[in-house]
């Protein structure tokens, strides 16, 4: 076999080997984007780029809007975790009950030292108004500053506090 052919094959083989490695890394990259669809990482990035005060500031606006005409008009479409270790997580509100707690079968699994395993649930009543109910948790569920004792309607944008986690309903 001529020297030239062998040299071409030798370098060609190395090139092919490296091509495989590069393709494999590309697959990993597309995989990363696949999981980024989950919005959690994206939201977190957004939140970090804005100072927290700003987030606090633009929160009251929808609440005032919503306060006067009670249900329908400003029906929330999603539940957003605003603070805590799960910050940025969103769940679409589609009429299903959302359970919160440390139990693994909760809709939102709270990784929070102050949360009980079945801490609270958020569900729509017959009129479509979303209600938050504390499920007998140890450290309580707070809507704004008030500890919940009975199932309470949740206004749009009102912070629901569970330990260090803050949850809001948003449009």
């Amino acid at each position: 076999m001529s020297e030239l052919t062998l040299t071409v094959m030798r370098l060609g083989f190395l090139a092919v080997l490296w091509l495989f490695v590069i393709v494999a890394v590309q697959v990993i990259r597309s995989d990363l984007f696949g999981t980024r669809v989950t919005q959690r990482a994206v939201r977190r990035g957004d939140d970090r780029s804005r100072p927290p005060q700003q987030r606090q500031q633009d929160r009251p606006a929808p609440r005032q809007q919503q306060a006067a005409p009670r249900p329908r008009r400003g029906a929330p479409t999603k539940l957003v975790v605003a603070e805590g270790s799960l910050a940025g997580t969103t769940v679409a509100l589609q009429g299903q009950t959302i359970t919160l707690g440390r139990a693994h079968d909760s809709t939102i699994v709270l990784d929070d030292d102050y949360a009980s395993s079945r801490h609270a649930r958020i569900y729509p009543d017959r009129d479509g108004q979303w209600i938050v109910e504390d499920l007998g948790s140890t450290n309580g569920t707070y809507l704004d500053r008030n500890r919940l004792t009975t199932p309470t309607p949740v206004p749009l944008g009102a912070p629901i506090r569970i330990g260090k986690t803050v949850i809001e309903l948003r449009k």
Partner: protein, 460 residues
């Protein structure tokens, strides 16, 4: 992404089976190319078995792929192609070394047989192990089984100075340590999952480190003593390092306490120093490592030096497949322990780095699986298996390149050795099973029973 509830489970990755298929075609084509290359360089002709070999490897990969499609549809797309590529490359390299009459009888046909058995075991694990959590039931059984496997070689004669083989008359020899590696990971995962809170929480802070209580040091000391016993009685540094390192890695992952790593390093350094200066077989290896260019006891050049010459003569781009002189690596194991030296000589630094990156990618996918796994047992099992794999690659590559004293372990998939190939295919199958569970889109949450039992009574 049917409902946006999946946001919480952080699973959005689609089923990647077609990617896997494309990569697999690539992974089969590369060894076939290498095979042709070796034939052209050695015999001036394309080897006669090229088509058969290519089809055989392709059929193995194809069967594995189809069964993954059926039984683990959401599994990681990279592990199977990388394992196939490494195994195929290994086969070519062994066949290439078979072309040297000086190196004894041909090993490649046997290795092909072992690889087939390995893929069969891979398939069997995928088909029969429906859920990796089943393994959790066998925590303590696997402890006894792995101990038995580890202890068994002591009763068989030493081969090349290390007692790591079981010789079965008529069948051949078996390296039980390779299988013990997987089984003991099951035990560690099951044990640490239960005990990790005690090991993580009860501690005092001292100089920035969380020091565990004295009585919690028990398990690490037991494993350490066991690995020291392996070192003394089986005179095998690799196995001993693998098991102790595996335990320390899993302990660290389970408890998040850096202090375990510090303890582990101190204990293994102390133990290795004592045994390395006392045990003659280990002592020779350590001497070879410290002074590779000194003449060996028999007046020849040490193997460490020979493998270093091989790397040096390979240079940046290597001499080309089939054109190196790795037949000159004397001694016992150019096809198993020193196969990396052949890679280094014939493919050069560029090829060696690519091969090491393939290992790194496989390990990365294993660790990624551990991160994505939702149950603690699966997490620990995945990290343990990829950790064991990583340690083995490190121990072998480090030994051959002269970073650490050489030990008698085999490069997973690449090196000649039946037990190693079979065990590592099983290891990849378990990782694929965990990753299938981890990447499977979560089912939409079932309506809570509480919601129906509890009626909301509004007083207004």
């Amino acid at each position: 992404m049917s409902t946006s509830n999946t946001t919480i489970t952080s699973i959005g990755a689609p089923n990647r089976r077609n990617t896997e298929l494309a990569l697999l075609v690539f992974a089969v084509a590369i060894p076939v190319f290498a095979y042709a290359n070796v034939g052209l360089a050695k015999n001036n002709s394309v080897p006669a078995g090229l088509l058969g070999y290519g089809l055989g490897l392709g059929a193995l990969a194809g069967i594995a792929h189809l069964l993954v499609r059926k039984f683990a549809p959401y599994a990681d797309p990279l592990m199977l192609p990388i394992a196939t590529l490494l195994n195929g490359l290994g086969l070519v390299l062994i066949w290439r070394l078979d072309q040297e009459p000086r190196l004894g009888k041909a090993m490649a046909p046997n290795q092909l047989l072992w690889s087939t058995l390995g893929v069969a075991l891979f398939v069997a694990v995928l088909v029969f192990l429906k859920d990796h959590r089943i393994l959790q039931r066998y925590t303590y059984i696997s402890m006894f089984l792995s101990l038995a496997l580890l202890v068994a070689p002591v009763f068989f004669p030493a081969v090349y100075g290390a007692r790591i083989w079981i010789t079965l008359p008529g069948i051949g020899s078996l390296q039980p340590g390779e299988f013990a590696k997987i089984i003991i990971t099951v035990f560690f995962a099951g044990y640490l999952m239960v005990k990790r809170d005690a090991l993580a929480l009860a501690s005092r802070r001292f100089m920035g480190l969380y020091l565990p209580r004295g009585r919690d040091l028990g398990p690490i000391l037991v494993i350490w003593a066991m690995s020291m016993l392996i070192l003394v009685f089986e005179t095998d540094l690799g196995t001993s390092l693998l098991f102790f390192g595996l335990f320390v890695i899993m302990l660290y992952v389970a408890t998040e306490r850096t202090s375990w790593i510090v303890f582990g390093l101190l204990l293994s350094a102390g133990g290795a120093a004592v045994v390395g200066s006392a045990e003659p077989h280990v002592k020779v290896r350590v001497q070879d490592w410290l002074h590779p260019l000194k003449l060996a006891a028999n007046g020849g050049v040490t193997e460490t030096a020979q493998s270093m010459y091989a790397f040096g003569s390979g240079g940046l781009f290597g001499s080309g497949l089939g054109q190196g002189y790795s037949r000159l690596i004397g001694g016992i194991a150019p096809k198993s322990d020193y196969i990396l030296a052949t890679v280094g000589e014939e493919l050069g630094l560029a090829g060696l780095m690519a091969v090491l990156l393939l290992y790194a990618l496989l390990i990365e996918r294993g660790i990624r699986t551990a991160l994505a796994a939702r149950d603690p047992f699966g997490k620990l099992l995945a990290i343990g298996l990829s950790g064991a794999f990583a340690l083995q690659v490190f121990v072998v590559a480090g030994g051959v390149t002269g970073l650490i004293p050489l030990t008698g372990m085999t490069m997973p998939f690449l090196a000649q050795g039946g037990s190693s190939v079979i065990a590592n295919w099983a290891l990849v199958a378990i990782l694929l099973r965990i990753s299938d569970t981890a990447r499977r889109p979560a089912p939409s949450p079932a309506p809570s029973p509480d919601a129906e039992a509890t009626q909301v009574v509004r007083s207004q």
